[in-house]
Amino acid sequence: MSDNKQGAIFPAKGNIREGILDFIRQGLSQGCFDAVLIPAKMPLSDSFTHVLIKDESLLKDAYPLCPVMPVQGARAISDITRHGKGMKRIAALMRPCEVRATVELFKLGQVDLENILLISIDCPGALPLGDWAKDPKKTEEAFLELLKGGSNENLRPVCKICDKFSSTGGEDLHIGMIGMKDSILLVPGSSKGRDILDTLGLKVEQDISDWQKQVDAFTEDKKEKRKQAYKELESKATGLDNLLDTFSKCINCHNCMRVCPICYCRQCFFDSGDSKFPFEDYLMRAEAAGGLRLLPETLLFHIGRMLHMSLSCVSCGACEDACPTSIPVAQVFSLVGDRNQKEFDYVPGRSIDEPLPLRVYKDKEFEEVEQSYAGASAKEET
């Protein structure tokens, strides 16, 4: 991030949530946007989900910081704009990983961002969806403790090691709150974001280096934790045998794919007829190996998914939340994604203008793994 970046200060009266909601209210009433997509508590049950709110009075149930991530926001935006942009403008307030996934989906032609304003927020992390389902009260309490600076032991494993919990560059506006008490920091990331602050009469002249320093310190800490975690994951995610072990509990429900914001195919290849073979083929495979595990392409499904989406994987953890047999899917994918992304010096969601690595042709690339033709001797034809 550039050193001389500035932001606007917005009052929060000792309550960050109220501060954010006030900002949203002002945005709605001043016509900066016509509706807001924001996590909210459902009236009848103890559940949270993304809600598209037009009516200001409903904002009372909105929780910009919510304990769990039941739906990946990028999926919500993809659904809304599947048939193209609308005439009205929507502000989407989401976690950084949701914003980053949205940016990736934009590059993949799955969302239209013209009338969408992406607002990210310093994210404290989310708790496992399973914990919430078992005991919502206890989980909410744990989350409130966490917000007050308490233990983060209960966070989802990928959240514990997330080093992209703050502004990552792809958003229109970022809400900074780490280390903030009576105000929040509004940092524009695009002209769209700047326009909103202009309309609301908020001057972008606050030096943000104090906040930035704290974010950077946290980031370093998380990076260190990430390194440690990767060391432990190494034995789960590398090599065929380890992967077979890790995914041996897989029940082929494909939930991980269904909740993944990046898995955007209409139909997964592994759900299609093309992935099924004639009867004899299975017999032959069983004969060749001594036995054939059914369903047969379990690991291939996960490897296929890695191959297809790991360059855009934002480590949001939705897959792991959705896994009924508690396979550390998100952790494994996070490690694989990280490694693959580094090979291309690519950070998913960092910028709307950064092209997907697969679509960039370079004359010279990965020469170190290229096989040279020199030495392959061919006899003259007779």
């Binding site: 195919c265 209409r266 392959a376």
Partner: protein, 565 residues
């Protein structure tokens, strides 16, 4: 229908038989399901071999054929033709390369035999999944669009215009003739460029098969070889013209590097510093001085400095004709101003070919001075100018000159970018269009049906530009015979409408611009005429929506499984 697979193993003389134990191969593949015939042959590609194969297919009523022999690059087509003659769809055939991939590269005979068995087994496993793909043809337009009315474009038009072929010549300026029409003299025979070009233009204007569109610009070109849809805007009439052509010749020519960017030459600041094209214009009878070589003050120059390679270092290439036309300038100067002192400042001279050396020596003999200088600088004072120079050994000198003529580098026309975007053509770092292959296919572009000739490809002489036009015309005449249909590649990609989710990855990775996006339905579609079947899209599509015919998932899977078993 019951499958009857025929397997033929070629000995290729001693090439395969010496290393691979063919009896063992035959024993290994004979029991495989649906394999009806297994035969060996000494040389299957010979006339006798082909006849044997044809008879065997017919006699046994075979439905699929596998041949274990050489590389598909060598004889795939040969054996596919035999299949066709035997009444079998040629796509129901698979060639296992047991020569280049086994016999020639695997020293151990047993290992080579095992490898050959795997390869043939893989082919047998794959071939039942083949589809009979039928040949497709498209009607094509024999007409041609030529862009640019310079000498290269004019020459192409002349040769292409026939009673059954219309040629459209689009020129953005009001008149034809390009740069050459301003050249009073041409090297080396000092013929008049003005007269030469007039002689070339006249027949075009009289030819009913040529439609000359001056003061016009190409707005859009869509389509592919044989079927380009063109929109041209006629600027004067402010009207649009639509027509279709089968091929496009780009002859968009060159412009000169602007030497104002090199302050050491004083161009734009000092009165009598000219570019080569400005000097040509001065010499033209229709020019501002009526063909007389005059200074801005109306007097004739007594001394002239010609500075070579203005911008060569900046551009990074030699423009290859400047030295030659500079000798022509000497000639022009000497014939008008016999007493004028002429000095050339050059760092290298480029005088290749059979005629130019003599031209140079003849010029040198007329008292023209040649100064080899590493650096040159022009400074002006009230009276005339001074050319300061530094030789390659570091010694310095200066000379006065009334007139300075710069020989700036040739650059691609400012339209090059527009056409590169319109036609998806690659340009090199200098901005010139890139050939399909620098040595083997120098006038074709990577987009089929689009040809690039003359200075749009890089600096060229008039003669070279004309040779290129003739070459492009030759390619067009043989590809677009009036009434002929084009036979298309059958192993092309197709994109499933139900599976495509519109991410456009395929469009980015397609090197042939063969995939278009349907904005309304948000799905991609392959144009079968443009598709070359490279498979990039099929590999990149995560949805499995893009499939390459003859290389489908089940086909490759079956092949791999047997190869790796």
């Amino acid at each position: 229908m019951t499958k009857k697979i025929g397997v033929y193993v070629c000995e290729c003389g001693a090439n395969i038989a010496e290393k691979v134990n063919i009896d063992k191969v035959i024993a290994a593949v004979s029991p495989i399901k649906d394999v009806t015939v297994v035969e060996r042959h000494k040389l299957l590609c010979s006339e006798g071999g082909k006849e044997f194969l044809k008879q065997s297919i017919e006699e046994n009523g075979l439905t699929h054929i596998v041949v274990g022999a050489c590389s598909p690059k060598q004889h795939e087509l040969t054996f596919m033709n035999v299949c066709e003659q035997a009444g079998l769809n040629p796509q129901l055939f698979q060639l296992a390369n047991i020569r280049e991939q086994c016999a020639w590269v695997t020293p151990d005979g047993e290992e080579a035999t095992d490898k050959a068995i795997r390869q043939i087994r893989a082919a047998i496993s794959r071939v039942p999944y083949h589809e009979s793909l039928d040949k497709k043809e498209v009607k094509c337009s024999p007409d041609v669009l030529v862009i640019g009315g310079g000498i290269a474009g004019i020459k192409a038009c002349q040769l292409l215009a026939l009673p059954d072929r219309k040629v459209y010549l689009v020129e953005k300026t009001p008149s034809l003739g390009g740069k050459v029409k301003n050249f009073n003299k041409l090297f080396t025979n000092m013929e008049s460029g003005v007269k030469l070009i007039a002689k070339e233009i006249q027949p075009l204007l009289e030819n009913a098969s040529v439609e000359v569109l001056t003061e016009s610009e190409v707005k859009q070109i869509l389509g592919f070889l044989g079927n380009f849809e063109v929109t041209v805007t006629k600027k004067a009439e402010d009207e649009e013209l639509n027509f279709s052509v089968g091929a496009v010749v780009l002859a968009t020519g060159f412009e000169l590097f602007d030497p104002a960017g090199l302050p050491q030459y004083g161009y734009g600041k000092l009165d009598d510093v000219y570019t080569s094209l400005e000097f040509e214009e001065m010499n033209s009878p229709d020019g501002s001085t009526g063909g007389k070589i005059l200074l801005k003050n109306g007097k004739a120059p007594e001394s002239v400095a010609i500075i070579h390679c203005a911008g060569r270092e900046e551009k990074g290439y030699c423009s290859k004709v400047c030295c030659l036309y500079s000798f022509k300038f000497d000639n022009m100067l000497k014939s008008q101003l016999p007493a004028a002192k002429i000095s050339h400042f050059y760092s290298d001279l480029c005088i290749p070919g059979k005629t130019y050396q003599k031209f140079y020596e003849d010029t040198k003999g007329t008292g023209v001075e040649f100064v080899r200088a590493a650096k040159t600088e022009v400074t002006g004072s009230g009276k005339g100018m001074t050319v300061k120079y530094e030789t390659q050994t570091g010694s310095k000198g200066d000379l006065t000159a009334d007139m300075v003529i710069l020989l700036p580098a040739m650059e691609p026309s400012s339209d090059a970018q527009k056409f590169a975007e319109m036609l998806n053509l690659a340009r090199d770092k200098k901005g010139f269009f890139v050939e399909e292959h620098q040595l083997l296919s120098p006038v074709a572009s990577a987009v089929e049906g689009i040809f690039v000739v003359g200075c749009a490809r890089g600096p060229q002489s008039i003669a070279e530009s004309i040779v290129q036009s003739e070459a492009a015309v030759g390619k067009i005449l043989s590809a677009l015979v009036p009434g002929k249909k084009l036979e298309l590649e059958v192993r092309v990609s197709e994109i499933s409408e139900t599976l495509c989710t519109g991410c456009k990855t395929c469009i980015d990775v397609c090197p042939y611009s063969a995939i278009t996006f349907d904005e309304a339905r948000k799905i991609s579609a392959v144009n079968e005429v443009l598709c070359h079947g490279c498979g990039n899209c099929a590999a990149a599509c995560p949805s499995g929506a893009a499939k390459l015919k003859h290389f489908t998932f089940p086909q490759i899977y079956q092949e791999l499984e047997q190869a790796l078993r």
